[in-house]
Structures are given as C-alpha cells and as structure tokens.
Symmetry: C2
Subunit: 333 residues, 2 copies
C-alpha cells in the first residue's frame, strides 16, 4: 500500500485535463491530499493549498504522488530535480506514468540512499496466484460496460461513497492506475500476465464479512475485442453477486475501433449473465449506470427513463444524479 496522505505533484501541467489523476484523488479522497505542488507556469489548479515540498512534510504528507501526465513521455530534468529533493526530504513517490520511476538512475539512487520507496503503479508488484475459483465470503459488485471508458470506475466510486454514507460496509477495489493512486492500493490488471489475471482479482477481493460489499473497478468490455479478455478475467475472478451495466449513450463506435458498433444494453445483459453465472450462479444484474455527461439535463433524464422502461432495471447517472437507486438495489439482495 502507498502511504497516505499525499502531496499532489501537478508539475508543469499545461491544463486541468493533464492533471486528471490528481483531480480524481482530490474528488474522491480529499482527505488523502494535504495540498498540491505546482511548478512555475503550471496550468492546472485543484483549488487546494499550494505547498512547497517542505510545507507538505510539515503538513504530514508521506508520499509525493505524480498526478499529471508527463509531456512527450519523458521525465524531464526539471521534474527530476524536484523528485530527488522529495526523496531527500523523506517522501516516497508514487506514479502511474508509462515510463517508470525505477528506470531513472538518479531517482533509484536517491531512493536507496534515503530509504524511500518508488511506487510504479502501472506494473504489478505482487506475484499473483492462479485463480482457484473457490467461493469467497462477502459480496461483490462489478460494473461491466458496453464499451471501454464509459464510467465504470466512477460508478464503483459513487456506489462505495453512497454505501459509506449509509453506514454500510463497503470497499472500492481498484484495477487501474488512477484508481490505485486514488485509494493507495489495488491491482493494475491490464499489466498482469495472462495466466494470473483472474487470480489477481481473487487476491484483490478476498473473503470478507457477509454484509460487506467490494465494488470492483471494471475494465474494458466483453464487446471490445482489444481488451475483452481482461473483462472476462474480472468477471470470473471477481465472481460478482451483482452486476451494474455501464453505458455511454452518445458513442458512435467502440473506442479506438471505428469498424465496431456498440452493443445494445440488452445484448450486453444477455451475454454477461451466463458468463458471470459460471463463477457465481446467484449473480444478478441490478441496474444500469449511464454516463450522461454529453447530454443536457432533460435529455439525460429522458435517456434514463427510456432505459428503465426497456430494461426493467433502475437506471441512473450516479455521478450526476446520485447512486441511491443502485445502492437500493444492492440492499435488496
């Protein structure tokens, strides 16, 4: 686990979008961030306290989290100077960048000298087991999408937040880099070796109290030919009791695959349920999470109403209109 709280490194982000990892941490776990560190000319601003590295330490920060994409995929000399200083001051550093902290000699050497840890969350640090398929105690919910990037992570985070609010036992279980940095732990599933994918999901969602819910972050889509194997491993390793269908109604084709049409929610339902019941015969589809960010409020509500009628399932945009309906459905199980 990455130690919290964090100081969020925004570097020289040209704009807010480049700092979306930091934004995610601040949106979902504001208590995990003591402040933000911005370099000169930084175009992103989370609206939280600006701190120097020294001020971050004084505020209790344990880890400097790189919450920004690096330009051109290179860790610049300007960044490196700051990161080395952070290690010197006693920070660990965590990063989801494609190029790894551990491949930078100066950083490795400073980490070694000062006894600090570099977390490259893009690659696994655990030798995951092969899945054994054994029924585990506790309950699990998984969002599966008609496509990639339709809001599965936000669905899980919203449902977890709503459950916490109700005093229910609930944990968000990240399977991607952003989710791991938000919570401090998880499995970077897309980087796991094929044979161990389902085992990694079992490892992530172990036995738990009978009334505890894991919200497993979904990945890919059964209908996305590039990543469907990852989705399959999530379903069989996660053995969910409840599935939420996730959808973005304005997509014109599968993400990155212009020749592939999106499936209907009905087609997704009909495919996923027999697959999920191999691992958990009691699995149910409990609702639909619709990412309506590209619709105005009236259209969004009409879209949700239409889906509820067609599917006979509660439908909401949990980020926009709240996750109550979806959590109600889980409570009813």
């Amino acid at each position: 686990m990455i130690q919290t709280p964090y100081l969020l490194f925004l570097g020289d982000a040209p704009d807010g979008l480049a700092a979306k990892v930091a934004q995610g941490i601040n949106d979902w776990r504001p208590e995990n961030a003591v402040g933000q560190f911005r370099m000169e000319g930084c175009g992103a601003d989370l609206g939280i306290a600006n701190m120097t590295l020294e001020e971050g330490i004084a505020a209790g920060a344990k880890t400097l989290v790189i919450g920004v994409a690096n330009r051109g995929g290179v860790i610049s000399d300007a960044w490196k100077e700051i990161l080395v200083k952070a290690l010197t001051l006693g920070y660990d550093i965590a990063s989801g960048l494609h190029n790894l902290l551990r491949d930078e000699k100066e950083l490795m050497s400073a980490a070694r000298v000062h006894g600090q840890t570099l977390f490259d969350v893009r690659i696994p640090s655990v030798a995951y087991p092969i899945a054994n398929g054994k029924k585990r105690t506790g309950k699990r919910c998984l969002a599966v999408g008609t496509d990639c990037s339709v809001g599965k992570m936000y669905t899980g985070l919203c449902m977890d937040t709503e459950m916490q609010k109700r005093g229910m036992k609930s944990t968000f279980r990240p399977t991607g880099q952003t989710g791991i940095l938000i919570t401090g732990g998880g499995v970077p599933l897309d980087a796991v070796i094929a044979d161990f994918m389902a085992g990694a999901v079992e490892y992530l969602t172990p036995d738990n109290d009978a009334d505890h819910w894991d919200h497993i972050e979904g990945q890919g889509s059964l209908f996305h030919v590039s990543y469907s194997g990852v989705t399959m491993a999530l379903i069989h390793g996660g053995q969910p009791d409840a599935i939420v269908l996730a959808h973005e109604p304005t997509r014109t084709h599968m993400r990155g695959l212009p020749d592939y049409q999106l499936p209907t929610l009905e087609a997704l339902r009909d495919m996923v349920l027999p697959i999920a019941r191999i691992a958990n015969p009691d699995c149910q589809i409990v609702g639909v999470s619709v990412n309506t960010q590209k619709l105005n409020e009236e259209d969004a509500k009409a879209c949700l109403a239409d889906i509820e009628t067609r599917m006979g399932l509660p439908a909401t945009d949990p980020f926009r209109f709240g996750a109550e309906k979806l959590v109600d459905a889980l409570e009813a199980i």
Copy 2:
C-alpha cells in the same frame, strides 16, 4: 523463429511421459528432429537415432531442444555441463522449462562467447501490439474447449496435417510452449501481458491468401474461471471463421476446479458463437472434436454418433479416427 532441424535432448527423463515435448515434436514434425540425445539412465526413448552432440551437428542439427521436464524444477549440474558443451559446438538451445535458460549464468556466458541463442519459449520475446480488430484476409479456425487440456492442440495439428495432405494451404499457429517447440515459432499466450493478448493473436495470424487456413491453437476454456480471459482473447484476436468445439467426455469436473462442473457442448456452443461474432459476424461452428482416449473403440464411436445427433454437427476424434470430417466442413465454407 527457432532454427531447425533439432537434436532432441531427453536428458535423464525417468519415463516417456516426462519427455512429452520431445514426443510431440517427433509425432508432428519428425522432419524437424535429426535424432535424440539421452543421458545415462534415461527412461524415455522416441525410437529415433541416438546421437552424441557431435553427431547431431554432423547430421545438420542447429538447435538442441530440451524436450523433457527437469526434476524438481532445477537445471542440474549434469544437464548444465551438456548444455554448455552444446553451445560451444554451435547449437542454439530452446526450452519450455519454467526456470529460464537465461537465468543460468554459465549458459548465458557460453552463449555470448560462442554467439549462440537461448530460446526460452515460455516467455514472449516480442512486444506485441494492442489488437486493432481489423478484418484480416485468409481464413482462421480455432478449437474452443468445454475445459482445459481436452485436445485443442492435437485438433489443430490433425486438421493442419489433413489439409497439407489434400494440398490445401494451411498453417498451425501455436499459442503454447509445446506447440512453439514443435513448429519453431508462435506466441506463448499465457505469458503475455493482459492488454496485449488479443494483439498477440492478431500478430500470430496475419493477412494471408484468401484460401489459406490458420489453425490457431486453443487455450483454456470460456468455462474455466482461471483461464477464461485467455480464451476470450484468442476468440477476439483470432477472429475465427470456423470454430471446432473440443470435449473430453469422461471428465468429472473442470481441470483443477473440483467445485466446477463441465458445461455441455450445447452450453459451449450457445456461449461461444455470440462472442465470436463480435469479431467476425460470419463465424460458424463447423464440428466437434472429441478426445476419446479413455473410451474403448465401441464406446468412442457411440459417443461420437450421439454427439452428431444431438448437435447436428460432424464429430470425430481427429487423432484416433482422422480429421477428414472436420476438414470437409472447412472446405464447405
């Protein structure tokens, strides 16, 4: 690609079963093996010429293939001495062992000095792309199983052999260690990073002549929760035109998963076809390959007849009774 022909290293195999990789090479590509190298006390014998390392070189061998499992997962000193000598004499070495040749200092150093290559086929040597899902020219056939280890590799090899016999254009495309050592190339799919699985299968089965068939080696099973993600990636990366269902009728539970029952062939058919048609809307199920090795001839034939009636598809044990029916079905497409 691993250079052929091979000298097959049987080492100190206690029995024939321990040398099943060598057996597979000799069964399927006898032209790839100039002879066998047996250590004192070797209990395996392929019935081909016994050769010293020097005799193998004289017979034209380019690669010493480790065709035997190592006892206790350790490359013994006795083996190492022979392998170093082989490198000195000008052999490459290829291995599917769990522990890697490249992790043995003496072997790496001898390979470097003598300019030879160590092939650890258990791990990928290529940075595979992410799958793009584009329709490729040529035809592809994939065996999908009700369970793991039900004869999918043998099905592909039998069909390839039958096609060659008929003068059809055909290539067997290995996705596992044994298959790779048999043919000299392929993709060790179970060791590929999750995000690149489907892309590795696309890489393995590129554009080809319109009347050429790839026989893609199947892996895992959609119904085997430990490995179903790998199977999914094979179906979506392979975009098969034809699927053969593979089955072992005497299995009492899924391999390694005592709590999981085998699906029926009907359940497999109903699940795989909608999945396959995402990547290839024209995909058809063309037949059933039944591994009848545990049945006597009468029972085997009764089992095949029953499956043909139930499924309305040609059924055969291609290794025992020939692959004609399955290849006829492909010719009819």
